[in-house]
């Protein structure tokens, strides 16, 4: 009868155990990670629900209201022990719920970080930002309004009262015929943006004449047109003469695309300069 285990047997057991551990480790990590994200998503939902309660209790007619998570905690809408499941730390100041009231159509979104509105609304004319009515508009030649989106560089035209940013593609698309504009815009949108980006876009069109005019400060604008471009002029596509800045009716011109972004997109990094543009999204 055996009195114990041989070295070989022990070694074999160790090897088998380590193989099992090696196989199981990533799975276990995945499960832990997945449950962390699950918990994070659940807590996001709960925070939004709490914000809804507060919003309904408040009398508020703003287009966009903003409730910080830390305030919701202070006011007792959320347990004061609440932690961010991803970081396992207390919620930061920039975790908030945006409530957009678009003519009675209310939508809620949880945001963790600074949005373009948060950044641009703090700027002033020294940075090329001008407040007109409820909009923040970039003007002048040296506007530091560079944004990186979809692996391309855009310029911020303005942020509207719903906090939606309008961004202008820094490169133009060339020589588009009047008959093809509509299908060109549709196809371009389908073919050049991934699902992720499409989820962040509210609408996609070409530069509108009003925005173009408003980008000028002392006869200078960061929008420089080398050739005639198509503009959206009272919901019609017209050409803008690059020399006279007048509206004409030609058959061919270049296109400058403008994207209206959702108001809950966060700025990952950047300072708006060409060297260090705002980088949108996660």
């Amino acid at each position: 009868m055996k009195k114990g285990y041989t070295l070989i047997e022990l070694l074999a057991v160790i090897v088998i155990l380590s193989v099992i551990a090696a196989i199981a480790y990533p799975k276990i990590i995945d499960v832990i990670g997945s449950s962390k994200i699950k918990a994070y998503n659940v807590s996001k939902k709960n925070i939004v629900e709490s914000a809804k309660l507060k919003y309904l209790a408040d009398v508020n007619s703003l287009n966009v209201s903003e409730y910080k998570v830390v305030d919701l905690i202070d006011e007792g809408y959320i347990k004061n022990t609440a932690k961010n499941p991803l970081t396992n730390e207390k919620y930061t100041e920039d975790a908030k719920v945006l409530i957009t009231n678009d003519n009675g159509n209310v939508s809620y979104s949880y945001v963790e970080g600074e949005t373009l509105y948060d950044i641009v609304s703090k700027k002033n004319s020294e940075d090329g930002v001008y407040k007109e009515d409820l909009d923040y508009i970039y003007k002048g030649e040296d506007a530091q309004n560079y944004v990186s989106f979809n692996g391309e560089i855009y310029r911020i035209l303005r942020i509207d009262s719903y906090r939606n940013a309008y961004i202008l593609k820094d490169e133009k698309n060339k020589n588009i015929n009047i008959n093809n504009i509509k299908s060109y815009i549709n196809s371009y949108y389908n073919d050049n943006y991934s699902e992720k980006e499409k989820n962040e876009i509210v609408s996609f069109d070409i530069l509108d004449y009003q925005s173009y005019l408003k980008s000028f400060n002392d006869d200078d604008s960061y929008i420089l047109n080398n050739n005639d471009i198509w503009v959206n002029y009272n919901s019609q596509y017209k050409t803008l003469n690059c020399v006279t800045n007048k509206i004409e009716e030609n058959s061919n011109a270049n296109i400058r695309f403008v994207i209206k972004l959702k108001n809950d997109i966060i700025v990952r990094s950047g300072e708006g300069t060409q060297l260090n543009p705002y980088i949108l999204g996660e």
Partner: protein
């Protein structure tokens, strides 16, 4: 008890340990010199086969150079000992015929199997199926030949190398399809099988076989086409795709640094930059300590500038756009703090003196400096030189740099054409009317001698052709051809030599499109002609229209079909250039939603359906407006479909 001595034996045994000592102690020592009997061995256990294999491998490689290796000798000894034990067993078996002895023999063999396994590890012997030949009778000869082990090792390493090589060469780029469930990102393949379970916080679409994802720890990683980590999480700090390069940041010994990777994730630059950002046309800007500058599309530092103070840094670049098919280098204005210059974006060469004036950038390498006193000072750069400079105009414009023609627009909207080769005005004769279009100048002069209007088509260094007695419709060439009025008040086309491309004339004719086709009609019946004037679609349809020019090219590239839309009995269908109806005329309308992929929308009795114009099949996808077409799949609010219209994945599982 038979087992006991064997247990001891096992305890002492380690790979390449002096096993022979143990076996030397076995009773088989007495039989060492005896020759083995083949027939008896064959009756024994199959474990011998392994030994045979080793020996057969050895015999096959006898010719290799002789080297003394201790390992080989030990193995030889082991093999000898095994043989001796077998012989021992055989003799005992003859004497006693006792089953216990047989069992003991089996155990002995088991021990020796371990030895053989070790041997196999060294030699990577072939599979057991081929090991049935007994060559024990050649034992003496064979054993000496184990010296070829280095050759076997070499073969093994070679095979391993080839294996690794094959595994590293990616035959196909696999792009998985991104899915999102409960705000978690995962990926499926083209058949709809989940390859990466939804578990990531964030993930990009696949680009050339890779996707960037972020896990629950906010760490970035890159997945390959099998969903495995190509770049493990935490190895990089961030990765963003610009054009076909990734700007990647990661922690190095010098702190957080940035670098460029190409689409295969190979390093284009080292990770040495404090900041990297994309401009356009493949040009990146960087800062590195107190140096700032530009990288070209190959990741080479083409321009560097050292700033005096680290805080005093402001760099901007504006790249000119080239239009047409010009192959000229592209130039850009670079502004560092307050001074600007112009550089070649390929080589970084400065082609203009530094100036405190603000240089502005136009298309086709045209630049200008604002002048408050009136007209701006314009200049054109080509071949690293300022080839033309002027302050005469409110604006100058080049439509195609290769045409060598500059269009100068005066304050009063008058237009001059300048020959860039001679720097002289082309429209120097007040009696001649000049029109620029499509890279050529059409000049129109009335010749009093012949009482005719004489037309000349020219480019800056030569006359391409002349014609008279023909009346151009609007004096412009479009995509190389000009529409003209004929005597019968119909239309025809001239090429740039002033020659008719067809003897026929048409009541209506569209300009030629980029793909070289024009829609023409006579008697209300429409057809299509090509640039040789051939009617590739006969004039017999109520209406003909073109498919989007870029989509047309996509289809032609994919299946070599040239497709046109035709109308019959108020319904639309699709016809190819062989005049074969490929989509029956049953639709109310077609709509183009992509130019990259072969899917179009069609309206049929107020229903929208999709047609794959590669396979020319209607797809059974119930569509709403939010339909998106990607490379090999279609996304609707219901789920993911392939180009056959089959549902491959439903959103929500």
């Amino acid at each position: 008890m038979n087992n006991k001595p064997l247990d001891d034996f096992e305890d002492d045994f380690l790979p390449f340990s002096p096993v022979d000592e143990d076996t030397d102690n076995s009773p088989s020592d007495d039989f060492k010199e005896e020759k083995l009997d083949n027939s008896t061995i064959d009756e024994n256990l199959s474990i011998f086969d392994d030994i045979n294999t080793i020996e057969s491998s050895v015999s096959n490689l006898q010719t290799s150079e002789k080297q003394d290796l201790n390992i080989s000798n030990e193995i030889i000894d082991n093999v000898e000992d095994v043989s001796n034990k077998i012989e021992d067993t055989k003799q005992e078996k003859e004497k006693t015929n006792d089953t216990d002895t047989v069992k003991e023999n089996q155990n002995i063999f088991d021990d020796n199997a371990s030895i053989e396994n070790n041997l196999q590890e060294v030699q990577k012997a072939p599979s057991k199926k081929k090991q049935k030949k007994s060559i024990f009778n050649k034992k003496g000869v064979m054993l000496q030949n184990l010296k070829i082990l280095p050759v076997l090792a070499f073969c093994f390493v070679s095979v391993l190398g080839i294996y690794i090589f094959i595994n590293n060469v990616k035959a196909d780029v696999v792009n998985l399809i991104k899915i999102e469930e409960n705000s978690k990102v995962g990926y499926i393949n083209n058949e709809g099988k989940v390859v990466v379970k939804p578990k990531y916080l964030f993930g990009t679409d696949y680009y050339k076989g890779y996707a960037v994802v972020k896990n629950y720890n906010n760490l970035y990683g890159v997945l390959d086409g099998k969903g495995n980590d190509e770049i493990p999480f935490g190895n990089i700090f961030s990765a963003t795709l610009y054009g076909d390069k990734y700007i990647v940041s990661k922690f190095t010994n010098e702190g957080l640094k940035m670098g460029l990777l190409d689409s295969n994730l190979k390093e284009v630059t080292r990770f040495i930059y404090d900041n990297l950002s994309y401009s356009k046309s493949g040009v990146f800007m960087f800062t590195k300590g107190e140096t700032m500058g530009l990288l070209n599309s190959k990741g080479k530092e083409i321009y560097t500038y050292k700033v005096d103070e680290v805080d005093d840094r402001n760099i901007s670049i504006e790249v000119s756009d080239l239009q047409g098919d010009s192959t000229s280098d592209i130039y850009a204005k670079i502004k560092i703090n307050e001074s600007s210059t112009i550089i070649n974006t390929n080589t970084g060469k400065e082609v203009y003196k530094y100036t405190l004036d603000d240089i502005r950038v136009l298309d086709n390498n045209v630049f200008y400096i604002k002048d408050d006193s009136g007209n701006n000072r314009y200049f054109v750069i080509k071949d690293d030189k300022v080839i033309y400079e002027t302050s005469e105009y409110k604006r100058i414009r080049i439509e195609n740099l290769d045409s060598n023609i500059v269009i100068g627009i005066k304050e009063n909207s008058d237009i001059d054409y300048i020959n860039l080769l001679t720097k002289t005005k082309i429209n120097d004769n007040g009696n001649i009317k000049y029109t620029y279009s499509d890279g050529v100048i059409l000049s129109e002069a009335y010749d009093f001698a012949s009482n005719k209007t004489q037309y000349t088509i020219s480019i800056p260094d030569k006359t391409l052709g002349t014609f008279s007695d023909i009346d151009p419709v609007d004096d412009t060439f479009v995509n190389d051809y000009m529409k003209v009025n004929t005597e019968n008040k119909k239309y025809s086309f001239l090429n740039k030599k002033g020659e008719f491309i067809t003897k026929k004339e048409y009541e209506s004719a569209s300009d030629f499109n980029k793909n070289g086709f024009s829609i023409v009609s006579n008697d209300g019946q429409y057809g299509v002609i090509n640039t040789k004037g051939k009617e590739i679609i006969k004039l017999k349809y109520n209406e003909i229209s073109m498919i989007d020019e870029d989509l047309f090219k996509t289809i032609k590239r994919r299946n070599n079909q040239e497709l046109f839309i035709f109308k019959e009995d108020n319904k639309y269908g699709i016809i190819n250039s062989d005049e074969k109806v490929v989509v029956k005329p049953i639709y109310d309308d077609f709509e183009f939603i992509t130019t990259k992929y072969p899917i179009i929308k069609a309206n049929y009795n107020n229903e929208t359906i999709l047609i794959n114009i590669d396979t020319l099949k209607e797809l059974s996808i119930k569509t709403e407006n939010d339909i998106e077409i990607y490379d090999n799949y279609i996304v609707t609010s219901n789920g993911y479909y392939n180009y056959e219209g089959e549902l491959i994945y439903t959103i929500g599982g």
